[in-house]
């Protein structure tokens, strides 16, 4: 029998041309992301590096005082800012990782199907809370609570910021940990039970270690999110340029510093450039974290 649809030669040509055009359009759009990344890096580099013609790079990186607008002797040490970032993000992880992992374990191994189907979207919805709203909660409720608990004059400090940033990173960590755990083969659990292990032993000694690469990646992504968080720290971290010594002291992380000071500087002057240099350091830190995660993941997958 004859084929019902005969192929018109012109029709085929047109289809092929459309095919090829689509191929190129998608390819160009995809390459744009690479251009974007390089573009941002060059943009930071261009302004940021100008700083170092006037401020020695070591003074910049390891100086312990940041006071660029001083009339007598401007100081460009970003160490207090970096420490502030470290305090807030480390504190956030200390809170978010145990919570996130517990939620993930509950969702993937203990919760009933129905509970999981309700709870998982709810947790992911936390990611949709604008961080300015988290900041408001920090100002209105958390700050007085912290001030009262620790007997401080106000509760705007690294601890407050850590708790709120932990809430912001919790959905990332919980959701990715859950993916890592529920992606494991059911056979692993069965093999462990068959050896006389209880459910809890199995989770602790087989399943969590087996999901370790995924859990590690989740933590690293959470860390990236925590380091870049701006609005919350701007609102509740306390904005002090003094070198932080404890979680109960106000801090001013790198992101907050850029956001606060960029409005007050002359475009193109040293202070302007130095803020780009801070951005560059921030970028390099997150880039390093991502690279280390990638390397670790590849290493574990290979062995």
């Amino acid at each position: 029998m004859e084929a019902v649809v005969t192929d018109h030669p012109q029709g085929e040509f047109r289809r092929r041309a459309a095919d090829r055009a689509m191929h190129w359009i998608l390819r160009i759009i995809a390459s744009l992301t690479v251009v974007l990344l390089i573009g941002i890096f060059v943009f930071l580099l261009k302004s940021g590096l100008r700083t170092f013609s006037e401020v020695p790079i070591l003074n910049f990186l390891f100086g312990t005082r940041w006071n660029p607008s001083s009339f007598h002797e401007p100081l460009w040490g970003i160490l207090p800012l970096v420490t502030g970032t470290l305090f807030v993000s480390a504190g956030a992880l200390l809170i978010a990782v145990p919570f996130g992992l517990s939620i993930a374990i509950y969702l993937s191994y203990i919760a009933s199907r129905r509970t999981r189907e309700i709870l998982k979207p709810v947790i992911e919805m936390i990611a949709g809370i604008p961080s300015v709203v988290l900041g408001l909660i920090g100002l209105l409720y958390l700050a007085p609570l912290i001030a009262k608990t620790f007997g401080l004059s106000n509760g705007l400090n690294a601890l407050n910021a850590s708790i709120l940033v932990a809430i912001a990173t919790l959905p990332t960590i919980a959701s990715l940990c859950e993916d890592a755990l529920s992606g494991l083969s059911h056979r692993l659990s069965e093999s462990s039970w068959a050896l006389g292990a209880t459910r809890w032993t199995t989770i602790r000694k087989v399943l969590v270690p087996a999901a370790a690469p995924g859990i590690g990646a989740a933590i690293m992504l959470g860390l990236g999110r925590a380091i870049g968080e701006t609005m919350v720290v701007l609102m509740v971290a306390g904005n002090s340029l003094a070198f932080p010594r404890s979680f109960l002291e106000p801090v001013r992380p790198m992101t907050a510093t850029i956001a606060i000071e960029i409005r007050e500087v002359v475009v193109g002057d040293l202070h302007w450039n130095s803020l780009f240099a801070v951005g560059l350091v921030l970028f390099l830190i997150t880039f390093a974290i991502n690279s280390v995660t990638d390397l670790y993941l590849h290493r574990t997958i290979r062995s």
Binding site: R187, W193, A197, K205, V206
Partner: protein
């Protein structure tokens, strides 16, 4: 026949409203290999999994009848399942090593009983730095159990230089023998194998069959298999399951020589299944 180690009486298993096993009764003698054959869905795997209460983990399962192991009805609700599974080990269809080192895989069953593993690697970052001769001479209970089990599982010679390697780096056949070593490390009385060779090549299959023949002096072995030749080669007794019932149970010679029932004869002659 010596006193049976396992006695099954009127065993029924239901998954929800589906009957998976109906009125199964027979005895299994110690230190023998019992082959369980039958088509897919005949209930042979369900039977195997009822022996170590693996079916407990399925939410809708209901079981009736009795299974007596060592004088105790293991289907009783007060049975200590953890203790039962230490006496009745299991090896699954696909090799399921844990993402740990070879050593830690075998040590796992003892470790969870609270015995300290002297060679534990931290996050698989630290490596086991011990020569195998030293390990063989060690008097630590975990060291001894690991060496003994790997030797019994005919794997020691192949892995003694790479006990710290991830178990995932072993071949499929080696992984399955590792799973056997892991199961016998805690010295069970009974070893259940659920189609242990179905994902392996003929050479690895041969290796495991030899291994099982060697192991039966110490363990009672039950093996579910799709491979009739395998049952013929290694089993002492054979049970034929069909649609949830034990159609026939007898010596391998009886089943494969001239089975009493037409259904059995048709199955072993390859008429269906």
């Amino acid at each position: 026949m010596t006193a049976p180690i396992i006695s099954v009486r009127s065993l029924d298993v239901h998954y929800g409203s589906v009957t998976a096993l109906h009125d199964v009764s027979f005895d299994i003698a110690p230190n023998e290999i019992t082959g369980l054959i039958g088509a897919s869905g005949s209930g042979k795997s369900t039977f195997l999994r009822s022996l170590n209460r693996m079916l407990d983990h399925l939410p809708t399962v209901r079981m009736g009848g009795t299974i007596t192991i060592g004088g105790e009805n293991i289907l009783h609700e007060k049975t200590d399942v953890v203790r039962l599974r230490r006496r009745v080990g299991m090896v699954f269809q696909n090799p399921t090593p844990f993402p740990k080192s070879v050593f830690d895989n075998v040590a796992y069953g003892l470790e969870i009983q609270g015995i300290r593993n002297p060679r534990k690697s931290f996050l698989s970052l630290t490596r086991l730095r011990i020569q195998h001769q030293e390990l063989e001479a060690s008097d630590d209970p975990i060291d001894q159990a690991v060496v003994r089990s790997l030797k019994e599982a005919a794997l020691w010679e192949e892995v003694k230089h790479r006990l710290h390697h991830s178990a995932y780096r072993l071949s499929g056949g080696q992984q399955q023998r590792l799973c056997i070593a892991r199961a016998i490390a805690i010295r069970p009385d009974i070893l259940l194998l659920d189609e242990p060779c179905s994902s392996l090549d003929p050479l690895s299959t041969r290796c495991i069959e030899q291994l099982l023949l060697g192991l039966k002096k110490d363990y009672t072995i039950l093996i579910v298999t799709h491979n009739l030749q395998q049952a013929r080669r290694i089993a002492d007794h054979v049970g034929f399951f069909h649609t949830g019932e034990l159609v026939e149970f007898g010596t391998a010679k009886e089943i494969f020589g001239g089975p009493g029932k037409t259904l059995t004869r048709e199955y072993v002659e390859g008429a269906f299944g």
